[in-house]
Amino acid sequence: MRPSARAGLWSGGLLVTLAVAAVASAAVGPVHVDALVVAKACLNAIGLPTGLGVRLADATALGASLPVPVPVIDYAYPFDFALPGTAETIVRRLRLPRIALAAVVGFALASAGAVMQGFFRNPMADPSIVGVSSGAAVGAVATIALPLAIPFGLQAAAFVGALVTAFAVYVIATTDGRTPVATLLLAGIAVQTFLGAVISYLLLQSGESLEQAVYWLMGHLRNSSWAEVEVTLPLAILAFAVLLAYARDLNVMLLGEGDAQALGIEVERSKRILLAVSSVITAAAVAVAGVIGFVGLIVPHVMRLLVGPDHRVLLPTSALAGATFLVLTDTLARAGPVELPVGIVTAAFGAPFFLFLLRRREVHAL
C-alpha cells in the first residue's frame, strides 16, 4: 500500500480513537454527567476557525500596563444542542480545555520524539534531548522562585528558556556550519546537567513556593484553559506540517548523513530545520504542561513497531497516538481521590509497558 494511503488509514483510525478517548474522558470527574449530555457538550464545543484578526491586549510588565498586539482567531460553532447549564459548564469550561490541552501536548511531544529519534538515529532520543525541557524548567522555576525577577508569565518564561537552551546547544555543537549529531547529543546532555544544577539551586532558594515549583517540574495539566489551547494548537499544527514535509528527508537521513547527502538531501539545512521546529513544538508543550516524560520516548517506539520506520506514516500516527495516550493518562491522573501530576502517571504506566516490549524483543534500535 502506498505510504500516503497507509498514513491516511492509520491516522483516520487514531483520530476516531482520540475522539472516543476525549469524550470518555469528559465523562470522568467528581460530578456525574450523563454520557449523552457529555457527547452533546463536546460537539457544542467544536469550533471551526473562520478568520484571523489582531487585537490589542494589555500585558503587565514591571508594574506598567502595555498594549501588545495579539492574533485572534474567530470561530464558528456548528453544533448547538440545548443542555442543562451546569453540565455544559462542567464539561465545556472545566474538563474539555484540559482534555484538549492534553491532546495538543501529547501530539506535540510524540511528534517531536519521533523526529528526534530519527534525527539522532538513537532509540533513546526524546524531545528534550537538546535541553529544551531543562531550559523550560529553568524559566518556569525561576519565575516561581523569584517572582519579581522575571517580567513575563511563567509560560512565556518557560517557552523562551526552552528555545534559548536549544539554540545554545546547537551553537555549541556547530563548527564550520556542520553539526555532528553525536556532538549535539553530548552538548545537550552537558547543558542539561548544568541546567539541572541551576534548577536545584533555584529550588533551594524557592522557599514557600517549593511545592509549586516541584509540581510544575513533574508535569501537569491542572488549571488548563481554552486560552492555552488556542495558542498551542495552531503552533503545534503548523510545526507538525513542517515536520511532515520533511518526513522523506528523515527517512533518507536514517541511512546516514553521508548517504543522505549523496542522495540529494541538504543534510545540514534539513537538520537545522528539523531541530528548530521540533524544539519549538516541544517548547510550546513544555511551557503549558511542564516536563511530562516518556510520551515522546515510548509512543514513537510503539508506533514504529506497528507501522514501521517510514516517517511519512510514523510521524502522523505517533502524533495522534501521543495525543490519545496523554488524554487517557491525564484522565487517570485526575480520576483518583488525589489528583496526581500527569508526568507521574505517564512514567508509571509507560515505563513498565516499555520494559515489557523490550523483554519481548520487539523494541530494537531504530
Partner: protein
Amino acid sequence: MIDVDGVHVTLGETAVLTGVDCLVERGELLGLVGPNGAGKTTLLRTVNGLLEPDAGTVTVDGDDVAALGSKALSRRVATVPQTTSLEFAFTVEEVVEMGRTPHRSRLDWTDATAAVERALARTETSHLADRPVDAISGGERQRVLLARALAQEAPVLVLDEPTASLDVNHQVRVLELVRELVDEGRTVVAAIHDLDLAARYCDRLALLHDGHVAAAGPPASVLTPANVEPAFETAVAVSEAELTGAPRVTAVADRPARDCRVHVVGTGRPAARALGACWRAGFEASVGVVPPGDVAATLATDLGATAVTAPPFAAIDRATREAVRDALDAADVVVLTTEAPDPASVEHLDDGRAVVDWRDGVDADAVDALDAEAGGESPQSDRPPAVVAAVLDELDEGVTGDD
C-alpha cells in the same frame, strides 16, 4: 567527464590528498587502487561532494562539484557507499526507492516508479523487494545499494570498495554488472582494494600513494613491481592471469634480502616452483636452460630473474652454453629439479658445485646414478654447509607453503 585538478584535502591534522590530478573519460571505468589510508575514499568523497577540497577543483561534466547543490549533484553523481547503516526495518524496495530522492519534490510521496523496478531487476534483487533490508546477506545488501544508486539514474557512478565484503562469486557478479553499465555509457570511478579484480575490470587504474597519483594508465602499465612495491611497501610479482589476460599481482610479505644466488636446473612446473620458492626466500635466482614460453621462463621474467632459454628439440648453441656456465658460476647453490637436466647444465654440474637435489619422487638409486654421471663427487662438498642448509629449509618451507 570527471576532472580532478590539483585537489588537496586535509582531514584534521593529516594531509590526505596533496595535489591529486586525475581525468576520467565518459564511458570509462577508472579504478582507484592504493594501500589502505592512501586516500581512495577521500578522493571519491570529493567527487560525490561529501568533502570540499581545501585547494583544487573537481568538475563533473564541466560543473564544479563544490558549487553544485546537493540535489543537482546527486542527479549527476550516484554513490555506492562502502558501508551504510541499514539497521532498521525498511524494505529493500523502500531503500531503492530512496534513490529517487534527487528527482522528487519534498511533498511528492509517490513510490515504486519504473526506475526503481528497473534498478531492482538489473541488480537481480527484485525477489528481495519486500524483505527487510536488515535481514538479507552482505552480497545481497551490496547489490541493493547498487540498485539504489542505479535508481538515481545519474550518468556518473562512484563506488567505494564495492566488493570489499563479498565472496568471489558476488565480487565477480557485481563487477560484471558495473562493467555492463560502463559499456552502456556510464562513467564509473571505483575504489577497489583487490588489485587483480581492479586490473581485470577497469579500463584504467590510478594508483594513489602518499596523497597523489603515483601512476595512472592501463592496468598493465600501472601494476608493475616498480609502481606497486613502493606504494604497498611489499615485494610483489606481477604475472599475467592466463584465464583473464589481466595482470595478476602476488604480494610477498617481508621477502628477506639474502646475499646468495641460486640457479635452478630443470624445466616446467617443478623448475618454476623451485624458482618461486627460492625467490620468495630472498635468494637471487636464475633458471635454465628452459624453452622460451616455458612456465619457469615466464615466471623468471615476472620475477625479474634470469632465464637462460633455448628453443626445444634443437642443439644448444655455444652462446647458450656460456650463459649457463655464467649462471652456474654466479650461483652459490644449484638446485636440481629434473631427472634429465639439459646437456649444457650437465656439462658444468661436475665442477664441485653445491648441488641440492630436489626432484619430486626421485628415488635414491636415480640420485646415485646422477651423481655418478656428474663425476661421483659428494654434491655438497665445497660450499659452506650453512648456505646449503638454508636453501634446503627455505625450499621445504616454500613447497609445503604452496601445497
